[in-house]
């Protein structure tokens, strides 16, 4: 038995003992939560069996979680409940007296078509269902993006460059507005694909990327706060809820 293996057995023993002690002192459920938390944190050092265990458990259980959710919250009330309400009356009594909607046969059929892809011969037919989904949202996105991301943003950028305040001309605000105006224009220039970034156009594009970089740095810096809050939250769980060391 080599040293590495010996060490891993020692660690396993410690983990098991700590787990048992924790169950005895703090209860089963909070212990499970705490050990899974520690298992995930251990990934920061390197990949290890404990992380692998937590990861695989998480993947399997979460997939099934969403499956059950989808079945009870969507299939039952939205499909079966509308297709033939008495069928699900035992689960969702509120639906009992709703009229049956034969149109709901269409998603049922499309859904079954989708499952056909498991067959190697009739797999192509599943594309009908895909086409339906993609088509629905393509149309929806077309108008949505045009309105909120295009027209609305242009409208927001139309403002007065010259700013006055109570004491007259406001130099600072005016400069800021000019920078915003210039920044938007240069940013747009940067995104031009079919024109070479040369000369004045190239200068505009370079200014554009400068503004982008400043923004990326700032957003990154600001997010640190929110992420540290998450970590503090986990500390609170480990040292407070589990170990009871901080209140």
């Amino acid at each position: 038995m080599n040293a590495g293996k010996l060490l891993s057995y020692i660690i396993l023993a410690i983990v098991v003992i700590a787990f048992v002690v924790s169950i005895a002192l703090k209860g089963f459920l909070v212990t499970v939560g705490a050990f899974l938390t520690l298992f995930i944190f251990s990934f920061l050092y390197k990949d290890n069996p404990y992380y692998k265990f937590a990861e695989h458990l998480f993947v399997g259980a979460s997939a099934a979680y969403w499956m059950s959710m989808g079945f009870w919250k969507t299939m039952v009330p939205n499909l079966f409940g509308k297709l033939y309400p008495p069928m699900v009356a035992w689960a969702v009594p509120a639906l009992k007296n709703n009229p049956a909607q034969p149109l709901m046969l269409i998603p049922l059929v499309l859904g079954i078509l989708l499952l056909m892809r498991l067959s190697s011969k009739a797999g192509w037919i599943s594309r009908w269902a895909l086409a339906f989904i993609v088509g629905t949202t393509a149309g929806l996105n077309l108008v949505r993006y045009l309105r909120s991301d295009f027209i609305q943003q242009i409208n927001n950028t139309v403002f007065s460059l010259y700013v006055t305040n109570a004491s007259g001309f406001d130099l600072g605000a005016t400069i800021s507005n000019v920078i915003i105006f210039g920044g938007v224009i240069c940013g747009l220039i940067y995104f031009f694909f079919s024109k070479e970034h040369k000369g004045a156009f190239g200068a505009g594009a370079r200014t554009g990327i400068i503004v982008l970089m400043i923004t990326f740095g700032a957003s990154f810096g600001y997010t640190v706060m929110a992420r540290i809050s998450l970590l503090v939250g986990r500390m609170q769980f480990l040292f407070g809820d589990w170990l009871g060391m901080i209140r």
Binding site: F43, K46, D47, Y51, K52, A54, E55, H56, F58, V59, G60, S62, A63, Y65, W66, L114, R117, S126, R127, L130, I133, V134, T137, A138, N141, L142, V143, R144, Y145, L146, R147, F150, I151, Q152, I154, N155, T157, V158, F159, S160, L161, Y162, F181, V184, I185, L188, I189, F191, F192, F193, S194, K195, E196, M213, T215, F216, G217, S219, F220, T223
Partner: protein, 409 residues
């Protein structure tokens, strides 16, 4: 989405009503104060229903009821109760109430026939308003009506959007046609795209796999669809070079599509035998479980190249940092503006926003796609012109321009 649209329609409606109400209430108030200031002792007068207006730009089933009431009674009326029936001698149903001092009510009926609050379009409706005084006396108005509501064929507030759609369609069709005729279109180089070949080549040399992450979007998210096209090109190269490819998926529909895309790419490269559905597989559709799974794949399979293209949320940085720690070349791209900074910081190449959508045209060099790219550039040019003209117009105090761009919803 639907909710949002509905909401916005509601908002316009209420804005209309509210402004009318205010104008109305204010004019009432001004004349009234001077007339009588003492509390009258006589029984309260009847409210008088003045009008019932159909709300424009909607599907009907909504009506704004206005009535008049002497302002000197404002303080002694607690509320008005509003009733509706489909005939003058029919069964009047209580709809709701308005506080004293308010002289209009927005009746939002149901469009469902079996709903007790059903409000038919294009049929006569009759209303009654009861004033309830502080002392508990209720006075009924005369029955008002008939009023009608109707749905409209076109939402007038959305004209700018319609113009936009039509203009954009014309541009796209024009440039696609000219591209088809063989007109050569220049496109500037994009570092992230040029790195794709090199990144695949590197993986091949090292004999390590390539990891392609489509993100947590659905098959209908624009970013995911852009990513499918890139996946197709990448998979074809990968098949030609005989490198291993791993595509873990978050959404089962995305997985199905990705399987099709990769299978066709292998077929096109002449290596259908190399493809199996195990290359493109489902992990789970829980955000962080998906990330945990991909992290595991990364540290165990040690891919030489990671692609993160599609829709990403907070997980972007977890992926990019883990990928970096195993020394992979990373090419990322997303249209999620909050995540772009993290990719820019932690990846070797990042396609910023629109560049992700453009990537498919770059990789395919298909004239149709290039034409559409040109149309996008024209869209940007128009945006710039609109902004510059708008700023100039505002400088000269001409606000009509800005008003035109406002989409009333």
């Amino acid at each position: 989405m639907k909710d949002r649209l509905k909401l916005v329609v509601f908002l316009t409606v209420i804005a209309f009503i509210i402004q009318a109400t205010v104008a109305f209430a204010q004019s009432e108030g001004e004349t009234a104060d001077s007339v009588i200031s003492e509390q009258p002792v006589t029984p309260p007068p009847k409210p008088v229903i003045v009008s019932g207006e159909d709300i424009p730009n909607d599907n009907g089933h909504k009506l704004k009821l206005n009535w008049e009431y002497p302002a000197e009674w404002n303080d002694s009326i607690v509320r008005f109760e509003i009733y509706r029936a489909d005939s003058p001698d029919g069964d009047f149903r209580r709809l709701g109430e308005a506080a004293g001092g308010i002289f209009s009510y927005l009746d939002i009926g149901s469009k469902k026939k079996d709903d007790p609050n059903y409000m038919p379009n294009d049929q006569n409706l009759y209303y009654r308003v009861d004033a309830v005084s502080k002392s508990g006396v209720t006075v009924q108005s005369e029955i008002g009506g008939p009023f009608q509501t109707s749905g409209q064929w076109f939402h007038k507030g959305k004209v700018p959007v319609l113009i936009g759609v039509v203009l954009f369609a014309i541009f796209t069709i024009y440039f696609i046609r000219s591209a088809r005729k063989g007109k050569d279109l220049y496109i500037r180089p994009l570092a992230g795209i040029e790195a794709v070949d090199e990144a695949i080549g590197r993986a091949t040399e090292m004999g390590k796999p390539i990891l392609y992450v489509l993100g947590i979007g659905g098959a209908s998210d624009i970013a995911t669809i852009a990513s499918f096209t890139i996946l197709g090109r990448v998979a074809k190269k990968v098949a030609e070079y005989q490198t291993a490819l791993t595509v873990p998926c978050y959404d089962p529909i995305v997985m199905s599509v990705a399987q099709d895309v990769v299978r066709s790419a292998y077929l096109e490269a002449g290596r259908p035998d190399q493809y199996s559905d195990d290359l493109v597989f489902f992990v789970t559709n829980a955000q962080f479980a998906y990330v945990a799974g991909i992290n595991g794949i990364m540290v165990r399979d040690l891919p030489a190249t990671n692609f993160y293209l599609g829709y990403f949320a907070a997980e972007s940085l977890i992926l990019a940092e883990t990928g970096n720690s195993i020394g992979a070349i990373q090419i990322a791209g997303t249209d999620q503006i909050t995540q772009i900074p993290f990719f820019v910081v932690a990846c070797d190449y990042t396609l910023i926003g629109e560049e992700l959508y453009a990537a498919s045209a770059y990789l395919g060099r298909d004239p149709l796609l290039l034409g559409a790219l040109k149309a996008e550039d024209w869209g940007k040019a128009i945006a710039m012109v609109l902004i510059i003209v708008g700023v100039l117009a505002t400088a000269f105090g001409w606000d009509a321009f800005r008003e035109f761009l406002r989409v009333n919803l």
